[in-house]
């Protein structure tokens, strides 16, 4: 959870995760270069390295982009989401090797500054077939650099979550730029159709998974359509619909609200985790705290505040229980406001 600044907060899960990342990277690069050097002796080492790291980074980017939608659909895959930022940084480092070798090979040791050369050597910006594809790759690399550089929670806290999230949504811009970089670059040469098929497959997977996840989320955002009483409380659900230590999620005035049932009590707070907007309502009460399923951030159900020394807070909501039904007032309390949970033996109060 949040802290002023600390380099990676290692734990056993992260170490295993990172070990798997390393194995995957070595596997990909090892196979590519091993076969490349063995079966293509005429290929220069720089060419094979550029292709190994470029394709490897792109494959990894596809995996990264699939984790979000897949874990929405299959919560058992949430462990892949937990340390996803390490995947992102790894992918950037691989892309950096590709970019650095490319710039060194194609743009350095000439009469122009290598970075300037990336943008001006080929000036045919008005042509599709001759478009300077390397400019697109460079811009994508810069986006990935900014994302990698701000991947730590320190930046999340200091940039504020909305800005940080907007920044990291630029991954989709980077992905699009890289697709066009490949299509206007490597695909303009005599490459095997296997590459076209792989790219098409990858793009289709990313698009389809996002569309499915998007529709799934959209239906959840539909306003909970139910009775409103004279005090403005909205009828949400029956107590029996909320498993012990879990939540029922409702949408009130456009915002999702998580209604938790725990230890004979009912409490409601915002569904949106202050860390990275994770769905608190899909989490659980653990040791008396609402625990986010994405990264384990915790909040007290009675006031929406994180336990000390952490400072995150979410809004709470007024709740009442009448004849086994839970009613919630749509107007949120300010984040961290104490709202006494309703004891079920006190229902009808």
């Amino acid at each position: 959870m949040s802290q002023s600044y600390q380099a990676v907060g290692w734990n056993r899960q992260k170490k295993i995760y990172d070990l798997m990342i390393l194995i995957g990277v070595f596997l990909y690069i090892g196979i590519f270069l091993g076969i490349g050097f063995s079966f293509f002796p005429n290929a220069t080492a720089e060419t094979l390295i550029i292709r190994a790291f470029g394709t490897g980074a792109f494959v990894l980017l596809h995996i990264i982009l699939m984790i979000g939608p897949l874990s929405r659909r299959f919560p058992s895959l949430l462990p892949l989401l937990y340390n996803r930022r390490h995947l992102g940084v790894t992918m950037f480092l691989m892309a950096l090797v590709h970019g650095a070798f490319s710039i060194l090979q194609f743009h350095a040791f000439g009469d122009l500054n290598p970075i300037v050369s990336v943008f001006v050597s080929n000036g045919e910006y008005d042509s599709i077939s001759q478009f300077p594809f390397q400019s697109l790759g460079f811009i994508a690399l810069m986006i990935l650099f900014v994302m990698a550089a701000t991947s730590h929670d320190f930046w999340l806290a200091n940039l504020t979550a909305p800005i940080w999230k907007a920044l990291h949504m630029l991954v989709y811009v980077a992905y699009t730029l890289i697709c066009i970089h490949v299509i206007l670059g490597a695909f303009q040469t005599d490459v095997s159709s296997v590459y076209h098929t792989l790219l098409g497959f990858g793009v289709a997977l990313v698009l389809i998974s996002h569309i499915i996840a998007g529709f799934q989320e959209k239906t959840k955002d539909e306003e909970t359509d139910s009775e409103i009483d004279g005090d403005g409380y909205k009828k949400i659900c029956s107590i029996s619909e909320i498993p012990e230590k879990c939540a029922h999620i409702a949408t009130l005035s456009g915002e999702r609200v998580a209604v938790f049932n725990f230890d004979g009590k009912i409490a409601a707070l915002s569904n949106v985790c202050q860390h990275q907007n994770g769905p608190l309502g899909e989490g659980k009460i653990v040791d008396g705290y609402v625990t986010c399923p994405w990264h384990g951030f915790q909040y007290r159900p009675e006031d929406g505040a994180s336990p000390k020394p952490f400072t995150e807070k979410v809004p709470t909501f007024k709740v009442k229980v009448i004849e086994d039904y839970v009613w919630v007032h749509p107007t949120p309390n300010a984040p961290g406001t104490h709202q006494e949970p309703v004891k079920l033996e006190d229902k009808n109060a």
């Binding site: 907060g9 734990n11 056993r12 899960q13 992260k14 194995i23 995957g24 596997l27 990909y28 196979i31 590519f32 076969i35 490349g36 293509f40 005429n42 290929a43 220069t44 720089e46 060419t47 292709r51 190994a52 394709t55 494959v59 995996i63 058992s76 895959l77 949430l78 462990p79 892949l80 937990y82 340390n83 090979q105 194609f106 743009h107 040791f109 000439g110 009469d111 050369s117 050597s121 080929n122 077939s129 001759q130 594809f133 390397q134 670059g185 303009q188 040469t189 005599d190 490459v191 095997s192 296997v194 590459y195 792989l198 498993p243 230590k245 879990c246 653990v286 625990t291 399923p293 384990g296």
Partner: protein, 258 residues
């Protein structure tokens, strides 16, 4: 009712059921990663045979021909029969530069130099090692030779050829591949730096022709062909055979994109 498993990343272990699923998913992902890598590299088309003897230096003795693109003419030993008496090797310096500055004021002079060979088919270039050129001013050969006498010229007529303009240094061996779109920016940088632009023509039967580009007056065309580099191009011009070298003379403004 069995409590649903819940994953918390900072705890030492994931719940048993989730652990099992993730284990299999990880194995599957690693297999996919390995398989994708194998598929990617095994789908590569073969690379052409070209060589750059990077870091290996040989000594050469010959006559410098400065214009329009620096070359060294090296006498072939013994009887050459129908072949020209002299081989022609293009000259370049380190990086994306031709050898112009290194052979300034040495036109027609007999020199010794060291350099690394770059070669492809019957085309050869030498990347000159810094400070390796030596010229004996007292030598009897310190005069401008009559290049026409040592490099016989033959006019092969006017031809229309289709091919690609490449920079000879990369294409002959420094990079592989050293042509087409992915190499375009580098080729532009090299040709702008003085590397001789060569027109590569393939006839579809595996035969490749290499034509050194000059304008109608036999001058270098580097800056005038940059917008056509690495694109399919048609050039109509006079083909001259100079020694073993084929030269295509045409106004760069007349080149047409295909």
């Amino acid at each position: 009712m069995k409590e649903k498993e819940f994953y918390i990343g900072y705890l030492p272990k994931a719940p048993k059921g989730i652990r099992k699923i993730i284990k299999w998913v990880t194995v599957l992902l690693l297999i996919l990663v390995g398989a994708t890598s194998f598929l990617m590299i095994s789908s590569e088309k073969d690379f052409d045979n070209s060589t750059f003897e990077f870091g290996e230096y040989n000594s050469f003795e010959g006559i410098i021909m400065e214009n329009p693109y620096p070359r060294i003419l090296i006498e072939r030993p013994g009887e050459t029969g129908v072949h020209p008496k002299y081989s022609q090797y293009y000259l370049a310096q380190f990086g994306k530069f031709g050898g112009q500055k290194m052979v300034e004021r040495l036109d027609g002079k007999s020199v010794n130099l060291q350099g690394s060979l770059i070669y492809r088919d019957d085309q050869t270039m030498i990347e000159i090692k810094d400070n390796s050129i030596s010229h004996d001013h007292t030598s009897d050969t310190d005069r401008i030779p009559e290049f026409n006498s040592i490099l016989p010229q033959e006019n092969l007529g006017t031809h229309t050829l289709k091919g690609e303009i490449v920079d000879s240094k990369c294409f002959y061996g420094v990079m592989n591949p050293g042509n087409l779109k992915v190499h375009k920016a580098c080729a532009i940088n090299c040709i702008r730096g003085g590397i001789p632009p060569v027109f590569v023509v393939k006839d579809g039967n595996g035969n490749v022709g290499y034509y050194l580009l000059q304008d109608k007056n036999g001058n270098a065309v580097n800056d005038r062909v940059l917008d056509k580099v690495a694109e399919p191009v048609k050039i109509k011009g006079e083909v001259i055979k100079q020694g073993d070298l084929l030269i295509l003379k045409a106004d760069p403004a007349s080149y047409t994109e295909l």
